[in-house]
């Protein structure tokens, strides 16, 4: 599927193929927006999946990301398109996390403790089967954020733009992540696919 999408993009002909030029055209040209969509739909979906760990939620978040991108095209200005798009995806995922927080009252807490495997434990079981999730779970929140955007194909500079942080912060996170990844891959016996 990925190869198909990439081929569709590469075979497309347009005068100025840069993302930002397409974004300008996309203000009034659905074909231009479609080209951008095809370029990034799968990357955005994968990013959302990694953050949300559920296909349905990732699909919803991907839809919302592109709808928000469409609505915000006029505000893109001179900002580079890809980090801008992933900043939107990041915000959508944060919103999803915010709305999916589990709720239970203190009175029910004892019941939860004495029942069978919790949803969290089931989720962890699922994650254990995925080497990447296994790795990511062991990184700190900040470092994980950076690695997830790396896996989505962003460069260091684009990650800084997407997260609205300094290049120095990204650089530091990368070093910490690298140190931890090296250690984890050497000692934890992560199953490679």
């Amino acid at each position: 599927m990925e190869a198909l999408l990439r081929n569709q993009v590469s075979s497309a002909t347009f005068e100025d193929g840069s993302d930002n030029a397409l974004a300008v055209r996309a203000l009034h040209d659905p074909e231009a927006f479609t080209l951008l969509y095809r370029s990034y739909a799968l990357d955005v979906y994968r990013y959302c999946y990694r953050r949300l760990e559920d296909r349905d939620s990732a699909e919803d978040a991907t839809s919302q990301t592109f709808v928000n991108a469409y609505a915000g095209l006029r505000r893109l200005g001179h900002k580079p398109f890809r980090p801008w798009l992933f900043a939107i995806a990041h915000n959508v995922v944060v919103d999803v996390h915010r709305h999916r927080r589990p709720c239970f009252s203190l009175d029910e807490a004892d019941i939860h403790e004495s029942s069978g495997p919790s949803p969290e434990m089931l989720a962890i079981d699922h994650e254990e089967r995925d080497g990447m999730q296994q790795l990511l779970r062991q990184l700190s929140k900040r470092d994980r954020e950076v690695v997830e955007l790396r896996l989505a194909g962003l460069t260091g500079r684009e990650i800084a733009q997407a997260l609205g942080c300094s290049g120095e912060a990204v650089r530091a996170a990368q070093y910490r992540a690298m140190r931890d990844l090296r250690k984890l891959l050497n000692t934890e016996g992560i199953v490679e696919r």
């Binding site: 927006f33 479609t34 915000n91 239970f104 990447m132 490679e192």
Partner: protein, 414 residues
């Protein structure tokens, strides 16, 4: 060094690019499926990163998902010849979207009738002017013209709802200069429900936790010492609360304690409690208490930063300010780019609220405005002033968390 990198370094304000390092270069090469541009790149690192990327095996989306979404996105565009009104609301995105320029730019198909348009327009204009003139002179004179709502704009201002001066001695918390994380939440607690902050969601922050009630009644039972502001809008003098003592917070009341000290709370009333919750400090993972997300608290809006600019001082001033816009109110929003602040609001209250670039006296039809649908638009605005206008039927509230350095004790502010 690649040309791109050279260019970036040259444009860096200090001539040095913080991302100009071998690891970043190697990782960039991995994501681009290219060779590292720098000869300094560590090949071991690059090999390890390739291994990491090879592990990534995300479940693909449903077979029809990408195609269906592409079709839905295409349908967001107006069909040629349609007007903005012709676009079905069902096609508009969930967060709402302003009609893109395209909707105005796409002209209806022209026909031969346009040849006669200038003459027709001239006749129409003549008839219109004549009838207006007749009506104007037939009207009885009044001493004062009637007020037009848009011409009688009041000037709303930011009002401080609560302000506390944080000092490191407060409940044994670290200095403000160590702060890295800041959370500002608009929350709702339903009637009859309880919650606890004894989970690492709260306790991984080692700074102050502040709750201010906007409506309803909230009972809080802090395990450690706390400071209670019974009516923070009228009286900023707090009461000291002993560990284990319960307090009841009505609208406007606030309580403040160290986030590492747990507290429980409940809504004993019959109405939902609306409140603002602030956590600031240095993130230390894991925190104390169970690993669990907030309990029985609904987040209506949230802003967070995990790389905040810490105040360059041991102490800090933390305030919550409110901007209230009645229908037809406008406010010029021009925050200092150096200030540390967050904005939250209830997104459901934002129908009819628009934002325009620039400091405007009022809205004219030709002013380009956007719908205000997310507090991020005010937390991270484009540079320069913006004008917020409430064109809806209801009063809307915007809440701002502002953090400022507090002068050291004994240092003159003059």
């Amino acid at each position: 060094m690649s040309r791109l990198r050279q260019s970036l370094v040259q444009h860096s304000p200090f001539g040095w690019d913080s991302l100009e390092d071998p690891l970043n270069d190697g990782w960039d090469a991995v994501v681009r499926r290219d060779r590292p541009a720098s000869p300094d790149a560590e090949l071991d690192d690059v090999a390890l990163l390739r291994r990491v990327h090879a592990l990534d095996a995300t479940t693909l989306p449903s077979p029809n998902f990408l195609g269906d979404l592409e079709q839905r996105l295409r349908e967001l565009y107006p069909t040629p010849g349609s007007t903005p009104e012709g676009v079905s609301r069902a096609q508009l995105p969930r967060f709402g979207n302003p009609p893109p320029p395209s909707m105005r730019q796409i002209a209806p198909p022209r026909t031969h009738r346009r040849i006669f348009m200038p003459a027709a327009m001239a006749v129409l204009a003549l008839v219109l002017i004549t009838s207006l003139g007749v009506r104007y002179f037939a009207l009885p004179r009044s001493p004062e013209p009637p007020a037009i709502p848009a011409a009688t704009l009041v000037e709303p201002t930011m009002e401080t709802m609560v302000q506390l001066d944080f000092t490191p001695s407060d409940f044994g918390m670290p200095e403000a200069s160590t702060w890295t994380d800041m959370y500002f939440n608009l929350i709702q607690i339903d009637p009859g429900t309880s919650f606890t902050t004894d989970t690492d969601w709260y306790t991984w922050i080692d700074g102050p936790l502040l709750i201010q009630v906007l409506s309803g009644e909230l009972t809080i039972h802090p395990a450690g010492p706390a400071r209670f502001y019974p009516d923070s809008q009228r009286d900023q003098n707090p009461e000291e609360i002993s560990p284990g003592q319960s307090v009841s917070l009505g609208p406007g009341a606030a309580i403040y304690y160290s986030a590492v000290d747990a507290a429980t709370g409940s809504n004993p009333g019959s109405e939902p409690v609306m409140a603002l919750q602030v956590s600031i400090g240095h993130l230390s993972v894991p925190g104390t208490g169970p690993d669990a997300a907030p309990i029985d608290i609904k987040n209506l809006d949230r802003q967070m930063d995990w790389q905040m600019d810490a105040p360059p001082s041991a102490g800090a001033s933390i305030s919550i300010q409110r901007l209230r816009l009645a229908p037809f109110d406008s406010f010029v929003f021009d925050p200092d780019p150096e200030s540390t602040y967050f904005c939250v609001f209830d997104p459901l209250q934002m129908d009819g609220v628009r934002i325009a670039k620039g400091a405007l006296d009022g809205l004219a039809p030709n002013v380009d405005t956007d719908r205000l649908y997310a507090s991020t638009q005010l937390t991270y605005p484009d540079p320069g002033p913006h004008t917020i206008v409430n064109l809806g039927d209801e009063t809307t509230n915007f809440y701002f968390l502002v953090v400022e350095a507090l002068p050291e004790a004994g240092v003159s502010g003059a």
